[in-house]
């Protein structure tokens, strides 16, 4: 069996190199998110948002932008024979799950590095919430990466993958979105960040991450078989 670390680095490095070279996912995700903020700004006719409305706008936009990347996560594996190459090699399949989820996590973090400051410029009166918001973003990204990798690996074999991914993914991430919005709401409150039930929502996010990382670890081997 090939060293898991070597396989992990090979798959993650391959994905990031291909994305840097072709820019197929990240620019589309970023453009989608920024355009959505513009639509919200004019649609709501508000120059400032706070509390639950701000949290809702942020998380709905990030989720739908993430789906663009999730849809493409396994396309090269499916269309260029990557699945066969991996199945022919003596590798632990859970390492493949870890590498693909890590690649998606990198895309999400890169997306947020650009679009969260844009969100702050568009809708927030101060940037004080951004630092504590980072923790919420990271925990939510981890859950999205785990769930998205699982669903993407299943949907990619269907000709209707663009339809299938959101249909299956969205119900699964409802708890994640509730917890992320719940944790973000006090941070984005009018008058500056608050921390009411912040810890509780972070614990829910952590629990969600743990569950879906374990599910991925348990079932990914079977998902790669014919």
């Amino acid at each position: 069996m090939t060293s898991s670390r070597l396989v992990y680095m090979a798959i993650l490095g391959k994905d990031l190199r291909a994305e840097l070279r072709t820019l197929q996912s990240l620019p589309a995700m970023t453009l989608f998110a920024i355009t959505t903020f513009v639509i919200f700004r004019f649609g709501l006719d508000r120059t400032s948002l706070s509390g639950s409305l701000a949290a809702g706008v942020l998380w709905a936009t990030l989720l739908f932008a993430a789906i663009l990347g999730i849809n493409r996560l396994f396309v090269a594996e499916r269309e260029e024979g990557g699945f066969d190459a991996i199945r022919l090699a003596p590798v632990d399949r859970t390492t493949v799950f870890a590498a693909k989820a890590s690649a998606l996590l990198v895309y999400l973090v890169a997306l947020e590095l650009v679009v969260v400051p844009v969100f702050a410029v568009f809708f927030l009166d101060s940037a004080a919430a951004l630092l504590p918001l980072t923790l919420v973003l990271l925990l939510a990204d981890l859950g999205l990466a785990a769930t998205g990798t699982l669903i993407s690996s299943m949907a990619v074999n269907s000709s209707a993958r663009d339809l299938l991914t959101p249909l299956v993914l969205l119900p699964l991430v409802v708890p994640l979105m509730i917890a992320a919005s719940g944790a973000s709401e006090p941070l984005l409150a009018l008058g500056g960040p608050g921390y009411h039930r912040f810890g509780t929502w972070l614990a829910v996010l952590g629990l969600y991450d743990l569950i879906f990382l374990l599910v991925g670890y348990a079932v990914f081997d079977f998902l790669l078989e014919d």
């Binding site: 396989v7 391959k14 190199r17 291909a18 070279r21 260029e80 024979g81 066969d84």
Partner: protein, 216 residues
Amino acid sequence: MSQPVVAVAGLRRDFGERTALDGVGFELGAGESLVVLGPNGAGKTTLLRILATLLRPGSGEVRVLGAHLPGEAWKARGRIGFLGHEALLYRDLNGRENLRFHADLHGLRGEAAEARITELLTAVGMERRAGQRVAELSAGMRQRLAVCRCVLHDPELLLLDEPDSNLDAEGRELARELIGPGAGRTRVLVTHDPDRALPDADQVLRLGAGGKVAVA
């Protein structure tokens, strides 16, 4: 004969209502070549994908390199070189990056891996084109890279599905050095060109319609 490298008995595989293979059986010893012939849709590619552990057998007995399939597929993986209709190369990586990726998957690393990659690229005449993205290469050049990918990890068993496809005369000769009978590996070769393949064959398997063995 010592323990066969490949032993198949009563193999059947269905895809829904359609039977791809039915009652296929043969044994292949170390260093031997089996040529599989048959019309389109006779199940030749399905047979190779089952032997490569990429498809599960429906029923029957399949043993590859001592591993019972599908339960012990992990024992055979990494010891098989598979050259199918797809090159298994990423279009957005160059040739050398692709081979390095496959070397990593098979646990080859460092200078030994680089030396092996250079040796194979030179053997198929691709050392000067190895820095080009696969998407920019002709089908023949991709096939040369696929031959390198297939033997990169020095497999004991080669499963070759029309390995000459897209190769010019020079490419066929260069590839033959790596995947031909002279390379000393056990081979299962699917071909539509019996004139070239049969002189090297130790056994011939003819598949007919519905994946039945026509003449063994």
